[in-house]
Symmetry: C2
Subunit: 410 residues, 2 copies
């Protein structure tokens, strides 16, 4: 990390541009505005505000078709020019520039000074493991099957069935907002009551990430209402409110529960090769710096796909041990069934949350068996057993049925 | 407008998809979750929460190359399913869906009930005109030449020179954050003092849109500090904080000055044909509903370009008289010089803010002459005079010099 520069890397497509010149014009234009026409005396004063070109790497394969020529430009921006918040940094490095042709923000390297303003996740991987008392295996999260139009007894029963399967976390649907059927505090009370009932039967602790919604100015108050009602985790649609809203929530001492960041709206920003913000930055580095304890992102296995390398780069940004903030739990989501557990653990390691919806509720023996099948698949994989081998063992009927329905990959 | 459905229109690219089926699966999946497997009794209860397919229009030109087949899908979402705020609506209609293949959110039609929660712009076109006492011509806005690293006397002098040219609004640079050289309140005091000095010479009223920055929870307080120090307008980087932050600021009774929305970061969202949110929605409808009195967006004339039809669609969304909130002032920005005034007025009509930076500061006779040249170009165009004709008249030396430097278009 640089002491006092934040470095932005862009990919810039242009069939003809002089990329070195373009990089120079960004470095000057987005900092001091103009340079060559400044009097020498002014230059001395202004130099500390001037952006610098760190590198320009042109990709110009011979015989490249039109539209294929691009360059990666790295520009260093003096910390002096912006305040210590993510809106200021993002507007500096990609405010006006985002509208200047085919250009995508690939990465940001935060300076030592900038990052020092961010406490980061309050819990992170180790903290979430401590809350659950689970240190030796990947975690299992499940999602309600359907929530809109359901009343409290129905939601409570869905929660209870999921909890019985041995899941570690249950999250609200991100599209469940404040509503008369299942208002925030009553929902928390009903679900946490189901969690306690299930715990008395399974011995399994459980985090319930209730969806934090409402007007921006009320988010912290709503979070505290949820916590006072018993919530032990929060789900938050970060991109709908901005990273700074997450940063303020995660920095609030009274919001003493893990926050799971949902990637809602992220697909408007990361998938284009030419525009937007790359997924490892959008859902990795920035979510973590802003304080997400768990981060959901599209898995490489489902219908909501992201190329595998990009998935792994998101995960790498969440678990990289070099930044001075604790790691965030990666939660690759969508299209997950028990037969994919060996693959997930190979792709993401053990510090991962296996997250399933249909793969739990759609189990032929019911929701509780759906959770059990995942737990059995996780245990087998950690023990070095193949899934068919494990499925044949006594007590693993749930896994057997899951494999019969959905197959498996090794 | 529908009474109680908000309608989202998407463009969805897929070479093979059954688009009717896809539309149906969105309508169900993003509302009640599942439908066909519900018991009949449940269906009766759930029907009011169920999304509806409004239309599916497939574009499948004969001999279409791979990647060219698309459909526009319109889906109606019951208001019952979300709270009356933009994060809830956006997460509902484009949260998870944004990550589901090549899909772009083109438009939103708000229901009567949804829109009733939004007071909209406090001033809008008529209100801004009233503040300035200017009803018979387009407005003129200018931008500081460079701000980072400048001290208060320097900024004050830049402001004064711009004001002398007869501009109606001066805006901060969007990358000027809280800083020791020109802190918010001192900057407001210095610039408003320059505004008063210029007014005593020109008789021209002036709005100064000071950049509103800082932590999300402090935005309203910072706005009020600026207003107490004399600020009579605000500039706000909406997309870095989310639309709801703008909505809360514009709804705050104590924030009784116009808010200009800056499009910083918008280029990460609108330019791809396959992903993101279309500009007329992103910078038009949503900015206005959230309460922007003036909206800056890329002009079709400069280096930061947007196709002309898209520009006009942004403008149309800002000035359309059918919604129950007042209109917002369109501010097409970048690449503007006095020679473009006839074109701007033809493209955007008279309810437009002509916004220039280099086209004012770069004037061969100085900054004040830069503003004068624009005012002369506006007067000539409104009088039906060609620019060369006007430039030849006595007293229009500034316009003459501008046309010599930059040329003109009719």
């Amino acid at each position: 990390m640089s002491e006092n520069f934040c470095i932005a890397t862009y990919r810039c497509y242009d069939d003809k541009a002089d990329f070195a010149k373009k990089a120079q014009s960004i470095a000057v234009g987005l900092t001091v505005g103009s340079w060559t026409d400044l009097p020498e005396a002014r230059k001395t004063e202004m130099e500390k505000h001037l952006g610098r070109v760190v590198s320009v790497t042109v990709h110009e394969p011979e015989g490249a078709a039109p539209g294929e020529r691009y360059a990666d430009l790295a520009i260093a921006y003096p910390d002096l020019n912006f305040s210590r918040d993510l809106p200021a940094l993002l507007v500096t490095v990609f405010g006006k520039l985002s509208m200047d042709g085919k250009i995508k923000l690939l990465d940001l390297q935060f300076s030592v000074d900038f990052v020092s303003a961010f406490p980061g996740p309050k819990f992170g991987i180790a903290g979430v493991r401590n809350l659950l008392g689970v240190h030796d295996r990947p975690l299992l999260m499940s999602i309600f099957k359907s929530v809109i139009g359901h009343d409290l007894p129905n939601l409570r029963e869905q929660f209870y069935q999921q909890a019985l399967g041995g899941v570690d976390l249950i999250k609200d649907d991100e599209i469940l907002f404040e509503n008369p059927l299942t208002p925030l505090e009553k929902r928390v009370e009903a679900c946490m009551n189901a969690a306690r009932q299930a715990e008395s039967e399974t011995g399994q602790k459980l985090l319930y990430a209730v969806n934090l919604t409402g007007p921006t100015s009320q988010l912290a108050a709503n979070a505290k209402r949820a916590i006072n009602a018993g919530a032990n985790a929060l789900l938050f649609n970060v991109l709908a409110y901005g990273y700074d809203a997450l940063h303020e929530l995660s920095s609030d001492r009274e919001i003493n529960v893990p926050i799971a960041a949902h990637p809602a709206m992220a697909g408007a920003l990361y998938p284009s090769p030419h525009y937007g913000i790359a997924a490892p930055l959008l859902l990795g580095k920035l979510m973590r710096l802003a304080g997400a304890d768990l981060v959901l992102f599209p898995s490489p296995y489902g219908s909501v796909v992201m190329p595998r390398e990009e998935n792994l780069a998101v995960q790498a940004a969440l678990v990289d041990t070099s930044p001075p903030v604790v790691t965030s739990f990666p939660v690759p989501s969508a299209g997950i069934h028990p037969g994919l557990v060996p693959l997930i653990l190979r792709d993401f390691g053990h510090d991962v949350v296996v997250n399933a919806g249909g793969g739990i509720h759609g189990h032929s023996m019911g929701t509780a068996a759906g959770g059990q099948a995942f737990r059995q698949a996780i245990s087998a994989t950690l023990a070095g057993q193949s899934l068919p081998e494990a499925a044949a063992e006594a007590g693993n009927d749930a896994l057997k049925a899951a494999i019969e329905s959905w197959g498996y990959k090794e």
